[in-house]
Structure formats: C-alpha cells, structure tokens
Symmetry: C2
Subunit: 118 residues, 2 copies
Amino acid sequence: MTLPHPTAEQISLPNVLAVLGDPTRLAIVRYLASKEGVPLNCSQFLDLGSKTNLSYHLAKLREAGVTRAEVVGTSRLITLRRDDLDRRFPGLLDSVIAAATGDTALPMVGGHEVEVHS
Amino acid sequence: MTLPHPTAEQISLPNVLAVLGDPTRLAIVRYLASKEGVPLNCSQFLDLGSKTNLSYHLAKLREAGVTRAEVVGTSRLITLRRDDLDRRFPGLLDSVIAAATGDTALPMVGGHEVEVHS
DNA sequence: CCAATTGTTCAATAACTTTTGAACTAAGGA
DNA sequence: TCCTTAGTTCAAAAGTTATTGAACAATTGG
C-alpha cells in the first residue's frame, strides 16, 4: 500500500504557498523541519487538532508535494520533501521554515517552547 | 486620503503565504518585482482580470503587507514592500519571486514572454 | 481469534474566498 | 460645469476549505 504523491515536476508554486498558508500546516512543517531525519507519524501532531483534522491537513501537505508519507504497518512515516522542494524552488523552504521558527503566533507541537534548565 | 496598511510587525507569515498562494496575486507580485522602482497603477494589471476583481486582489496584497499603495490623484501607485518583507522574513520574497519567474503556468501581465529579436 | 492502535473515508455543516455587475466617489481636463 | 478616467464598494452567487463525528479498514500484540 502506497499513497499518491505528485512527482517533483508536478509540484506547483501557488499550491505549495497556499498549503503553507495555514497555521496548522505551517506548524506541522516547522516541527518536521525541527526533527529532520527522524520520520514522524501522524499521532505526534495531535496537539494541533483532532485525528480527523490532522488526516486532512497531512493529506493536503502530501498532495501538494511538501511531505512524503510512507506506509509502515499501521503508521505513516512522514518526512519533508526537502530535496524536491529545494530543486524546484531554491531557498523557499529554508526561508519559510526560518520565518516560521521565529513565529510565536503559530500553534506548537510540543505545547511550549524549550525552557532553559535552572 | 491614505489607505490602511499593516505595520511591518503586523505582517503575518501564514497570511503572506496564503495571499501569495493565488496565481493572479503571484502574477501581480512577479510583475511588480520585474518593474521594481517603477510604481505601477492598478490598470496595468488588467490582463489578469476585471477591474473589480483586481481591486479585490490588490486589496488582499496590501492588507497582508505585501504591497504598498499610495494615492496620487485618481491613481494608486503600487509597490512591493520589499524592505519590510525582507526584514520580517529574510529570503522569502526573493525565493518566491525567483520561483514565480520560472513558472510558465502562471498568468502573465505582458501576455507573452519577451522574444529574442531575430 | 479478539482487542487495541493508527489512520482513513464519508457526509454534514460552517466559514471563508473568489468573481461578477451595478452603483458609486473623487480627481482632472475641456 | 460636464465628461472622462481610475478605482472602490456593495450584494449576490458560486466555489472552495476547514472542522466534526461516526463508521470503517488494516496491522499488531495477547
């Protein structure tokens, strides 16, 4: 069982921007970027919404070509399509992630910022 | 008579991305970038839609902080808020414009690409 | 086999966005 | 003043997106 993904060439700029223009999805992408290399499953985003709602947002990200989802058992391992995005739209993902990382208005997966240990 | 603009600090990343995630508005921004320094008025975008529709899209861009509109007589001179955007979201505008410039699927203001003179 | 875990699909609804045309305002020129 | 030019506003219609809950499917562990 594999899920449908656009090819790198099918990724559309307006579509990527529109999909990233949602606070929940931007928070997902920011979290994926902060854990790059570690594949995450859907339940790790439950802070951001209901299971159904996340399924919807994660499908949007996948269909736009922003993320890749690999089916492993009952889980879907989700990763950023950094290679494809960087080739199609150089610098875009990095600047979006950098801007999102500094955005205190965005919802957060951890629930709160990392605190300095006293 | 001045039109309402957000301050630089009020510009929101999800909002900017959402506003740029529309082919008509992306085409406007691409054209503004290609003519940077030259202030343009609304009628120069009529290739992209009706007067009313452009008024709507240009208001969206202005309200998101992507463009600035200065009232001069019966015209509004429209410019990119490059300074503010670059400060808030370094590299974002450049990568979006670069990607948009190479996007043949986007609508165009001139109607056609510049042809090589034979 | 049975139950739990993971996630999807469906239908309904609510909320927003885009597009349109007609009516409008405001400035500038004859 | 009257007409034109430039652009806005409004209300309606059409379309799209987000959110929800209930029902479903597939895998894994006991």
